[in-house]
């Protein structure tokens, strides 16, 4: 795909807009693309689709520099070609949802897929309330974008912006009309969130190191609860989005 725009939006965090036909196949929020950053890297990097513009044929990725691969990604310039595979995985099942008021809980670089989700929910007339957690003020991104879609609470670990603490600290204050939650973020956060909201149907988006990214290598499995016959799910193709109770965190 071709790089259309590439800029920093927060500390070590970049927005990358890519153009190409691949976007035709993005049929639900929560899917990811698998990026070959350059020939120096043996494995592709999975990055969630944060937004899609079918009119412009573009998709937006939001990524944080976490290592060598994402660092090298920052060097891509407008006009460069990027080797992108996808869209991969199963996203949030927006088409079949029975929800009136959705709660979105994003942690750090888990926020991106939730943006396109939130847009989709609002389009379908579902009310959206968002809780976005970041380490510190410098890390906050997309607050305004989420605010256009509904109420937003930003939480920072150090209290430098918004509420101080963890996303789970503000969950008790939320409106009782919320009937479904959607979450993406660090494993520990997902675990805490599902434990805090056992009474609500929830969808979580997970991550794991991937080999193939298409379901063939079994690198990305997550175990399922005992009663499950198969015993596992592959994050790259059965997920990355799962029902909260479908997998063992």
């Amino acid at each position: 795909m071709k790089v259309i725009e590439h800029k920093s939006i927060a500390r070590d965090t970049y927005q990358l807009i890519l153009k190409g036909d691949l976007i035709e196949e993005v049929d639900e929020p929560g899917k990811f693309v698998h990026i070959q950053i350059n020939p120096e890297f043996f494995l592709r990097r999975p990055v969630s689709i944060a937004d899609v513009d079918f009119h412009e044929q573009t998709l937006t990725l939001l990524y944080k520099v976490m290592g060598k691969g994402t660092d090298a990604l920052t060097e891509k310039r407008v006009g460069d070609q990027l080797d992108v595979l996808g869209p991969g995985g199963r996203g949030f099942p927006v088409a079949s949802l029975e929800s009136k008021h959705a709660l979105i809980i994003g942690g750090g670089i888990g926020v991106p897929p939730l943006y396109y989700l939130a847009k989709n929910l609002v389009e379908r007339g579902i009310k959206v309330t968002s809780v976005l957690g970041f380490r510190s003020e410098a890390d906050v991104f997309y607050e305004d974008e989420f605010r256009e879609l509904g109420e937003v609470t930003v939480v920072t670990n150090d209290g430098s912006y918004g509420e101080k603490g963890l996303v789970t600290d503000v969950l008790p204050n939320l409106e009782p009309t919320i009937d479904t939650y959607f979450s993406c973020g660090p494993g520990v956060m997902l675990k805490a969130v599902t434990e805090h909201l056992p009474h609500l149907p929830g969808y979580i988006s997970m991550e794991e190191r991937m080999g193939c990214g298409i379901g063939a290598c079994f690198a990305c499995v997550v175990p399922t609860p005992d009663m499950d016959e198969k015993g596992y799910r592959r994050i790259c193709c059965d997920g990355p989005v799962f029902k909260a109770e479908e997998v063992v965190l």
Binding site: F42, R209, G211, G215, A216, C217, F218, A219, V221
Partner: protein, 310 residues
């Protein structure tokens, strides 16, 4: 150019097949191209019972390669026969079953069950990622010979033994499985490796060690095939780091009669198909008039190469 090749029990349209564990049971790649175009398919390892495998992370990137420690996750031989193989049979492509186990009995049991449903067996005595079995059969020549002999006894199809590169003397291993009755060799499985994350101070792979694959190991695989080709009289399926037709020709010259492509499928899901399409021209470019001419070609002339510029 005709790139068909016959190996014991296998009539291949071309010498290129996906390597075991890198292609699942074919379903995922069937979305990308017609599996009937492949020389063969080596399916994921089968064990006696369903296995969940190792905890995650199971893969880590390395320089020109990767580590994996999947731990032989598979639905078990019965389920593979019932569900996975029938799907593959929908294609016109020979199926090679990768047979694994923790005990000699398990190898024998799996081989016996699965051999009636596939075109050949690849006996995996070289998986470094399971605590029991696997690699010890591949590093001890008398165990290797024994398990080969017992599997040969029960198998209704030809048996290719997949050798581990984690040995002092690959030729001794090859000779042992030849003595055990192997019909062919598959070389090589992964080299055992480890990566440690300076931030967490722990191995990246949950299992600690993992198997190193990719171009990083190609020189080791080429060396071993070159050695074994001279010492034993079995056809070799070569693998380790294949990404280009030049790599394939290197394997053929070293002594492989066919090749398997493993982790490169993760970079480019179309790789096998692309290599099959490109191989005839690549062979012609280097002046080969047949595939056979390339096989073992490095052994024909003994003079060292030297540099010329024009």
């Amino acid at each position: 150019m005709d790139i068909r090749i016959d190996l014991p029990g296998l009539h291949l349209k071309n010498p290129i097949m996906p390597a075991s564990g890198c292609f699942g049971f074919g379903k995922e790649f069937a979305q990308f191209y017609d599996l009937s175009d492949l020389g063969a398919v080596i399916i994921k390892a089968a064990t006696g019972e369903k296995r969940f495998g190792n905890p995650t992370p199971r893969v880590a990137e390395t320089s020109s390669g990767m580590l994996n420690a999947i731990g032989l996750q598979n639905p078990g031989v019965d389920s593979i026969i019932e569900i996975e193989i029938p799907f593959m049979k929908g294609y016109d492509v020979p199926i090679i079953a990768n047979v694994a186990g923790s005990t000699v009995e398990e190898y024998v049991q799996v081989a016996e069950k699965i051999s009636d449903h596939v075109d050949a067996i690849e006996l995996n005595i070289s998986c470094p990622n399971v605590k029991e079995g696997g690699v010890q059969f591949g590093t001890d020549s008398s165990l290797a010979e024994e398990v080969t002999r017992l599997v040969k006894e029960v198998s209704s199809v030809q048996v290719y033994v997949k050798l581990s590169p984690n040995v002092t003397d690959i030729v001794a291993m090859a000779k042992a499985v030849e003595a055990g009755g192997a019909d062919g060799l598959s070389m090589v499985n992964t080299l055992t490796g480890m990566r440690i994350d300076p931030a967490t101070r722990k191995p990246i792979i949950a299992n600690g060690t993992g198997g190193l694959s990719g171009p990083a190991i190609k020189p080791v695989a080429i060396r071993m095939i070159h050695q074994v080709y001279q010492a034993v009289d079995l056809p070799i399926i070569g693998m380790g780091g294949i990404e280009t037709t030049d790599d394939i020709i290197e394997y053929l010259l070293a002594g492989a009669s066919a090749v398997a492509v493993g982790s490169a499928n993760f970079k480019n899901p179309l790789i096998c198909k692309e290599l099959i399409d490109e191989l005839p021209d690549a062979l012609e470019k280097y002046g080969f008039s047949s595939l056979e001419e390339a096989i073992g070609g490095a052994h024909d002339e003994k003079t060292p190469s030297s540099l010329f510029r024009t």
